[in-house]
């Protein structure tokens, strides 16, 4: 044989599928519309549903009386092909967005889909190719997309910000924003504010200098970058050693989406742990702006104020999780934050002043924070080779997964993890792309539990709790149907009575939850959408379930039509 058979040219995989390749055009999603997202509850326009991070919907078709009839409407399977990064640690962690019946959601390994919200039909797909060897502290995950200006935005595993055409899924632009050789990655759901798309760095276990970035939503041009570790001479640099290199690799990454106050024009960004995580001897000082909320001027990127939840962290207590915005009875602009360190903070969001702080978990041994906010460390790994056990463990009393606020009850529903850990300090030198923990860490394999805590942020009182054998590792969602939805690590999606905590309904999804459910309606029918799939940093938040089944399905529930 001499002449080869002509095999032609390779074609996109999706052309050999039923995917339509086109989604219906929707009305423009712009800044004004996202500001008013609460007034169109049929949609879920931005990561938290609204800029304030409340994760509350005024939809009430599914309510305390009807929820017992809630049933699957459709299921979408993400699937995979070939070898991919984090082959054993991927997880479906996103919060689905919905615009006029079209769902936009990202999955593991660079995948984005437009899905018919009514039928589950795949309308288009895009897959960003992700290097197999990209550094990932916590698995092959992505927390979602932003939709607006006719585009869908995703921040990829290899730290590219990409913009896709919302109707076709075709690439509009692709900007490299992080250094994968330095161990940087991307997992945050972008946030659209004004003409900007906001993202932040991931890679807290690799000794980065954290940053958040704003890009022009139309062109992909970077408009500002703000580092969350100051350089020598900049404000906050006095909290780092004078003569060291620690600031250069100090951490404070921004891998969870900001909340935003349009009146103040401030982004409220949580920042990650300092690096090395557990060895404070090489970074004496408070280490600003690690483990903080920074209030950032959306127009300039300037840090207006900050509040540090765990100064000189020695326990991996990131504060990246949301800063939920709500108003006090007197109109005071407040911010609520349930930190990994086990304390719940309420701040004045105009200036960062502490209003109150109280514990929201049962077991706190690492240290103490007084009602006035004074922090006293008690148990920490400071002696080389000596194991130290502490609660909460490095995944925290609450991880990145989000709490929700129901203005009808005035309660915040917090997914709580009661898991401890042992860290043994092991000093090591820094090398780019190599994990930089400064310790050996083993999270407890037993003696764990969890609960949903319904907390009055105005008093600190826990009104009720729903106990579970396993810690709560997924976001809550609350609705005007007086319900709280919570996914469990063992696969159940549970509906609780928002006033009492009584369990009203559950459905076994077949794999654990580590995502953020959302709700929407089409033609008057309300849906609850929840990505499922146990994975990510399981060894950090619940190693007792490291052997649980993986998965990557998105379930969508509704009441029967008849």
């Amino acid at each position: 044989m001499t002449d080869y058979v002509d095999a032609g040219e390779a074609v996109p995989h999706r052309t050999l599928s039923a995917v339509k390749g086109q989604a219906p055009a929707t009305s423009d999603v712009n800044y004004e519309r996202i500001q008013g997202a609460r007034s169109e509850p049929e949609n879920w326009l931005t990561y938290y549903g609204t800029y304030d991070g409340q994760r509350f919907s005024s939809l009430d078709q599914i309510n305390k009386d009807t929820v017992k009839r809630l049933s699957p409407a459709w299921v979408f399977q993400a699937g995979s092909s070939g070898l991919h990064a984090g082959a054993s640690t991927y997880s479906f962690e996103a919060s689905p967005l919905i615009v006029e019946g079209v769902m936009y959601v990202s999955g593991p390994d660079g995948k984005v889909w437009a899905i018919d919200g009514k039928t589950g039909e795949e309308l288009w797909r895009y897959k960003h190719a992700s290097p197999y060897d990209v550094s990932l502290c916590c698995g092959n995950v992505n927390r979602g997309v932003a939709v607006g200006h006719g585009k869908v935005y995703m921040y990829t595993l290899n730290a590219h910000l990409i913009a896709l055409d919302a109707t076709s899924g075709e690439l509009v632009w692709d900007v490299v924003n992080g250094d994968v050789r330095a161990g940087e990655s991307g997992s945050v759901a972008p946030l659209i504010v004004k003409d900007k798309v906001i993202v932040g760095s991931a890679g807290g276990e690799f000794g980065l200098r954290g940053h958040m970035d704003a890009f022009n939503a139309e062109t992909g041009e970077r408009m500002w970058r703000t580092y969350t570790i100051p350089k020598p001479g900049e404000p906050g640099s006095e909290t780092w050693p004078d003569d060291g290199e620690a600031w250069q690799r100090g951490g404070a990454n921004c891998w969870v989406t900001s909340t935003y106050d349009a009146e103040l024009e401030l982004l409220f960004q949580g920042t990650g742990n300092p690096a090395p995580d557990f060895d404070g001897g090489v970074r004496e000082g408070d280490n600003l702006y690690t483990d903080s909320v920074v209030a950032v001027d959306v127009n300039t990127g300037e840090i207006r104020w900050h509040y540090q939840f765990t100064p000189h962290d020695l326990w991996d207590y990131d504060s990246t999780m949301e800063n939920l915005l709500f108003d006090g009875p007197d109109g005071q602009k407040l911010l609520a934050h349930a930190d990994k360190n086990g304390y719940f903070f309420v701040l004045d969001r105009t200036n960062g002043e502490l209003v109150r702080v109280f514990p929201f978990v049962d077991r706190i041994t690492w240290g103490e924070i007084t009602p006035e906010g004074k922090v006293t460390p008690k148990v920490y790994p400071d002696e080389e080779g000596v194991p130290v056990h502490f609660w909460p463990g490095p995944a925290g009393g609450k991880e990145w997964t989000h709490m929700s606020y129901n203005p009808q009850t005035g309660l915040i529903y917090v997914p709580v993890q009661e898991v401890g850990a042992t860290a043994t300090r092991r000093r090591r030198e820094f090398k780019e792309s190599i994990p930089y923990w400064g310790a050996g860490v083993a999270v407890d394999l037993d003696d764990f539990y969890g609960y949903v805590a319904a907390i009055d942020p105005l008093t600190g009182e826990e009104k009720w709790r729903w106990d579970n054998e396993y810690p709560m590792c997924a976001s809550t969602l609350t609705t005007a149907g007086s319900l709280v939805f919570q996914g469990t690590p063992t696969g159940e999606l549970v509906a609780l009575d928002a006033e009492t905590g009584e369990k009203l309904w559950s459905f076994q999804c077949g794999s654990g939850h580590h995502s953020s459910p959302s709700t929407y309606s089409i033609d008057g029918r309300q849906y609850i959408a929840v990505p499922t799939g146990w994975g990510g940093w399981v060894e950090g938040f619940l190693p007792g379930l490291l052997g649980a089944a993986a998965g990557d399905a998105l379930f969508c529930f509704a009441l029967p039509e008849s």
């Binding site: 390779a10 197999y132 075709e170 692709d174 490299v176 050789r181 330095a182 690799r249 090398k431």
Partner: protein, 152 residues
């Protein structure tokens, strides 16, 4: 250890062929090839499947940086295979009957390693999993503002 030592060692251990020590061929034990960058900026290389070896040859292709890639794929085997290859937008697939030749145009970000394979039966496990290794650095605009740091 020289490359010859390594080759000999793999052969002696029965890891460099089909149905010797293992059932298939250990991944990544084929040769290493380098793409050539044309004046148009496209990086080109050829991979083939030799008869009864169930391997892409070279099994590791090195590219100087991320960008546009044009692969020529040749199936010299007496069986049918295929290739599903990484590409920004969607993986690309090409079906390759016995003694066939085709192309794949790919766009990939660098640096980083991507794997591709023949997704029929368990071709991937038997040895038909190849690596595309993209070198280089990210653009300066994507780097962190700090002095150069030590690397491993």
């Amino acid at each position: 250890m020289t490359s010859t030592d390594r080759t000999d060692e793999l052969h002696a251990a029965g890891l460099d062929g089909q149905n010797r020590t293992a059932l298939g061929r250990l991944l990544g034990t084929g040769s290493i090839g380098h793409a050539e960058e044309g004046s148009d900026g496209v990086m080109r290389a050829t991979v083939r499947i030799p008869e009864d070896e169930l391997i892409w040859e070279p099994s590791i292709l090195v590219f100087p940086h991320g960008g546009e890639i044009e692969l020529t794929l040749i199936n010299d085997d007496k069986n049918t295979h295929c290739a599903v290859l990484p590409h920004n937008g969607d993986p690309k697939i090409i079906w390759m009957v016995n003694h066939s030749k085709g192309t794949a145009r790919l766009s990939l970000g660098g640096p980083g390693t991507y794997y591709y394979g023949s997704t029929t039966g368990n071709d991937e496990g038997r040895g038909l999993t190849g690596a595309l290794v993209l070198g280089g650095e990210v653009p300066d605009s994507a780097k962190i503002d700090r002095p150069p740091q030590p690397r491993p």
